[in-house]
Amino acid sequence: MYRGYEAVIGIEIHVQLNTASKIFCADGTQFNAGDNENTSPVSVGMPGTLPVINKRAVEFAIKTGLALGCNIRKKSIFARKNYFYPDLPKGYQISQYDQPICENGTITFKVGDQTKTVKIVRAHLEEDAGKSSHLGDFTMINYNRAGIPLLEVVTGPDMHTPQEAAEYGRTIRQIVRYLGVCDGNLEEGSMRCDCNVSVRKVGDPKLGTRTELKNINSFRFVEKAIEYEIERQIDVVERGEKVVQETRLWDPDKNKTFTMRSKEEAQDYRYFPDPDLLPLVVSDELISKMKAELPELPIARKNRFVSAHGLPEHDAEVLTSEKDLADFYEETAKVSKNFKSSANWIMTEVIRELNDSKLEIAASPIKPAQLGQLIALIDKGTISGKIAKTVFSEMWKTGKEPEAIIKEKGLVQVSDPAVIEKIVDEILAANAQQVAGYKSGKTNLFGFFVGAIMKASKGQANPELVNQILQKKLNG
C-alpha cells in the first residue's frame, strides 16, 4: 500500500522460443549472425512469399502453456496485426488475436514469505520484427530478428507491488529455462517485459488509468520502474490531475520513466485472420506428448527436495533455482548417497568456484558424479572433510577423479588407532607443560592438542579417532 493507494499491475512478457529456425521459414536464429545474414525472401517479406509454420515453435508454445497451467486450444488462429514501421518487413506482424494457442492459466510463486498466484490470461505465438539502429539522421535495419518466434505471455491485472512483478518475471524466466524453450537472456532480448501499471485509492473497485512501461531489460529494473511509476501516478492523482494513458520507457541512468507515445497516437491494428495460414490445429496426441515431455517444474522439485531429501527449505530453493543446478545436485546425491552433504558442497564450494571463474553450472570442471564420489569418500572415512577441500581444489583444477588425486598425493585418512596413538603420544610428550596445564583444569587446551596432532599427521589423521584417543590419554 502506498499513501492510501493500491497499485494494479499486469505484465506481458515476450519469450523468444529458441528454435533453430524462424517461426515461418527456415532461416537461422543465432544471436550473433552478421547483419541480415539470417534472412531469406520469406523473412524479409519479398513479394509473393508465404509463411509456413515451424512445428517446433508450436511444440514449445504448447509446453510453456502446459507449464503455466493453460488450456491449449485445439484450433488457434494466426492474425495479421497491421502497422507501418521500417523494421516490419511485410507491413504487418503475424500474431494471434482472439484465438491464441494458450489460455487461462495460473502461476504461483513466492514473494518473501507470501505465496502469490497470478492468472495467465493468454500466451500467443507471434513473429518478431527486425531491429532498427539509429545513427544520426539515418536508421539502419537488421532483419535477423524478423521472424524469430515469440510467445507472448499475458497476465491479468493481479499484481500489486513492484516486488511481486519482479518475482513473477523471475518465475517465468525460471520456468522457460527449465523447459528449455528459451535461454531467458534479457540482455540479448530473449525475454522482453512490458508492465501495465495503474493506481487507485484503496477500496476503490474501479481501475485507474494505466500506463505501459515497455522493453525493460532486467527484473531489477522492472521493480524500480514500477516503483517509480506508482509514486509518479500517485503524485499526479494527488495534484488533482489525470494520469494519461500512454507508453513509457524506463531510463536506468536517471532512474525514471518517460513518455514514449500517448494514446492519441495509438494505432488501429486492423487485425484479421491471416489468409496465408490455415487455422493451427493441434492434436490431442501432440498435447499429450508435450505433457509427457514436461520436466518436473521448479516448485514441485523444491517441495520434493524438502520432503523426500529432507533438505531445509532454503537449500531446496537455491538448488532448484536453475534446472541445471538441480540436476547437478540430484546426480551428485545419487552417487554420494548423502543429500545434505551434497547440498552443502554445491551451495558453498561449487557455487563459489563457479562465481569466481564466471562459469555456468553446466561448464563445471567437476562433474556431479565426481563430487558424489568425493562426498562418499568422506562418509566412508577414507579422507577427512578437511582433506576433501584440498582434493576438491585439485579436482577443480585438473578435472581428475578424487580417488586418483588422493592416491597420487597420499592423502588417505589414517584410521589405524595404533598409528594415531603413536602420534598422540609424541605430541603429549613434546608438550609436557601444556599437558600439566590441561590436567590442572585448562580444558580448552584440548583443541591445541588436536591441532598439533592433525598438523603432525599432515591432516590425514581421522579426527574422530584423534578425539577418542586424546580423551583417553588426557582423562583416562
Partner: protein, 489 residues
C-alpha cells in the same frame, strides 16, 4: 510444321523428337512477339535470354536427357509471377525495377517441364481491374479489335495467347481475372480449385481468392498445363496434399448422362443478346451430346460482387503494405533524405508508386478492417462467403458441373468504363462467386458477337473436380463453331 498455331503437346513432341528445335520454335515466337507486341502491348518485357534458354534445352535433348512434357514450349508469364532474374512489376510503378531472386513455384514447375520464358505479360496493376486499363505500363489491346480491351486483369496473357505471341501463358484469377479476359480474347482459361496450385511467388492481391491457372489455346493444353503446375507445395501451407490427376490423359469429350446445372439466379436476363445466344447454343450443343440440364439455386450469389470487393480490398490493403520503398521497388525522390520523417517517406513513395484503382481498393480495405467497421464489413462478408460456399455445395449434390455466362457482354471499348468503377466491378458478377467458394472455373470460347468479338462460356466444377469440368469444356470445344478461329493482327 506450322509451329505458331501448333498445340503445346505438338510443339513439345516435335522438339523432343528433334523434328524441330527449341531454338527454332523460340525464334519464331520471339520474332512474332517482337513485331506484333508494339501493336498490342501484351508484353511488358521480352526475355532477352530466351534463345539461350532454348539452346540449353536443345543441348540437353542432344545429350539424351529426359525433358518434361513442355520441352521447348515458348511460354509467356503474367507480371504477377516472380521470375528469377527477370523484372516482375505486377503492372505497378512501385515494382518497376524489382528483380526477384527466386521463381514462383508454378514458374519453377513449368521450367522443370521444359518451357522457355518468352517474356512478362501486361496486367492490371496488382491484378486490380477488369480491363487491363489500370496497368502502369499502358493498356493492352484486344487482338480481335484494337479499340477494345482484352479484359483484366490477365489481359496481357489473353491477348498474347490469342495473337499467338507465345504457345501458352499463365494468368491469375482473384475474381475472374483468367476467365473474363479468356472470354474476351477467345482462348481457354482455367482457374483451379483454391489450394490446387501453389501461390508461392505469386504477388499477392487477395490471398484467400488468388489462384494461378493456364490461359492457352485449347482445353487439352489447359489440362496439360494444369497437370504440370498443380500439387502440394511445402512453401504454401494452403496447398492441398491431394494427388494431382492426369488431367490431359483422362480428358474425354463424353458428356453422356452428365448433369449440368444452370443457376436460376443467373437466368434472369440482362445479358447482351450475343452472350445469351452463345450460352443457349452451348446448352443445346451439350444436350445433343446427351448431357442433362438441371436448375440449381445459389441465391447468395446476389451478394457475390460486394462480398468479393470487401474481402479482396481488405486483404489487398494488408498485402500491399510491404511496398513502402524501404527494401526494394520504387522509392520517391527526396532531395534531402535525412530531413524526411517516416510518414512523409511512406506517403510520398506510396502516393507516387500506386495508381488510382489500387489506392481506391487500399482505402476501401483499410476502412473495412478498421476497428468499429470490421464486424459490419469484413466479418459479415466472411459469413456471406460461407453461405455462398454452402449453397454451391448443395448445388453440386444435384449436378456435376455448372454452366453460365462468363460476362454480361463481349469485350468493351477502351476508356468506355474507366470513369465508372461500379459498372466495372459489376462486370465480375458471374465470376466472383467461384473464387469466394474456392471452386474451379473455366472459360471456353464458344461464340462470336455480331461485331466479331469472341464470347466464352463458363463452366464451374465442384471442389477439386477439375477433371469433369475440363471434360465438359472439351466437349464444348469440339462443338464450337469458333474452334481454331484466330484474330488477324
Amino acid at each position: 510444321m506450322d509451329l505458331i498455331n501448333a498445340s503445346i503437346t505438338e510443339i513439345a513432341d516435335a522438339v523432343k523428337l528433334k523434328k524441330t528445335s527449341a531454338k527454332e520454335v523460340t525464334t519464331q515466337f520471339m520474332k512474332r512477339a517482337e513485331s506484333l507486341n508494339p501493336k498490342l502491348n501484351a508484353y511488358t518485357s521480352l526475355n532477352s535470354n530466351a534463345l539461350k534458354e532454348a539452346e540449353a534445352i536443345d543441348a540437353r535433348i542432344a545429350k539424351g536427357e529426359d525433358i518434361g512434357a513442355m520441352a521447348g514450349v515458348p511460354f509467356g508469364i503474367k507480371e504477377m509471377f516472380c521470375t528469377k532474374g527477370i523484372v516482375t512489376n505486377a503492372g505497378s510503378k512501385i515494382l518497376q525495377n524489382f528483380v526477384p531472386p527466386y521463381d514462383a513455384t508454378v514458374v519453377a514447375r513449368l521450367k522443370k517441364a521444359g518451357i522457355v520464358i518468352t517474356g512478362k505479360l501486361n496486367q492490371d496493376e496488382f491484378a486490380m481491374g477488369s480491363s487491363n486499363e489500370t496497368s502502369f505500363y499502358g493498356v493492352t489491346k484486344n487482338p480481335w479489335n484494337l479499340e477494345c480491351v482484352p479484359g483484366g486483369s490477365s489481359g496481357g496473357s489473353a491477348a498474347a495467347q490469342a495473337a499467338r505471341l507465345c504457345a501458352g501463358t499463365l494468368g491469375t484469377d482473384t475474381g475472374g481475372s483468367i476467365r473474363q479476359p479468356a472470354s474476351f480474347c477467345g482462348i481457354v482459361g482455367v482457374k483451379p480449385t483454391y489450394g490446387r496450385v501453389s501461390r508461392y511467388g505469386i504477388i499477392a492481391y487477395a490471398s484467400s481468392l488468388d489462384q494461378a491457372g493456364p490461359m492457352v489455346s485449347s482445353v487439352k493444353d489447359a489440362a496439360l498445363t494444369l497437370e504440370v503446375i498443380s500439387g502440394h507445395d511445402e512453401m504454401d501451407s494452403t496447398t492441398s496434399q491431394r494427388k494431382v490427376p492426369a488431367y490431359s490423359k483422362d480428358l474425354t469429350a463424353n458428356v453422356k448422362g452428365m448433369k449440368i446445372g444452370l443457376i436460376r439466379e443467373y437466368m434472369q436476363g440482362g445479358l447482351h443478346p450475343d452472350v445469351q445466344k452463345t450460352v443457349d447454343q452451348a446448352i443445346s450443343a451439350l444436350k445433343s451430346q446427351g448431357a442433362e440440364f438441371v436448375e440449381v439455386s445459389v441465391p447468395m450469389t446476389e451478394f457475390a460482387v460486394p462480398v468479393y470487393y470487401l474481402v479482396a480490398a481488405s486483404e489487398a490493403s494488408s498485402n500491399l503494405a510491404r511496398y513502402d520503398g524501404v527494401k526494394y521497388g520504387y522509392r520517391a525522390e527526396f532531395p534531402n533524405l535525412s530531413a524526411v520523417d517516416l510518414e512523409e517517406f511512406y506517403g510520398k513513395t506510396r502516393g507516387e508508386g500506386f495508381g488510382k484503382e489500387v489506392k481506391r481498393r487500399i482505402m476501401l480495405g483499410t476502412y473495412c478492417l478498421s476497428s468499429g467497421y470490421y464486424d459490419a464489413y469484413y466479418n459479415k462478408a466472411g459469413q456471406v462467403r460461407r453461405m455462398i460456399m454452402n449453397q454451391y455445395r448443395e448445388a453440386f449434390q444435384k449436378c456435376d458441373v455448372i454452366l453460365s455466362p462468363v460476362t454480361t457482354s463481349p469485350a468493351f471499348k477502351i476508356g468506355e468504363r474507366v470513369s465508372d468503377p461500379l459498372t466495372m466491378y459489376l462486370n465480375d458478377i458471374f465470376t466472383t462467386s467461384t473464387n469466394l467458394a474456392g471452386l474451379p472455373g473455366m472459360s471456353v470460347p464458344f461464340g462470336m458477337s455480331a461485331d466479331g468479338l469472341p464470347i466464352g462460356v463458363q463452366l464451374t466444377g465442384a471442389h477439386f473436380d477439375e477433371q469433369r469440368m475440363l471434360n465438359v469444356g472439351y466437349a464444348l470445344e469440339g462443338a464450337s463453331s469458333v474452334k481454331g478461329k484466330a484474330p488477324s493482327v
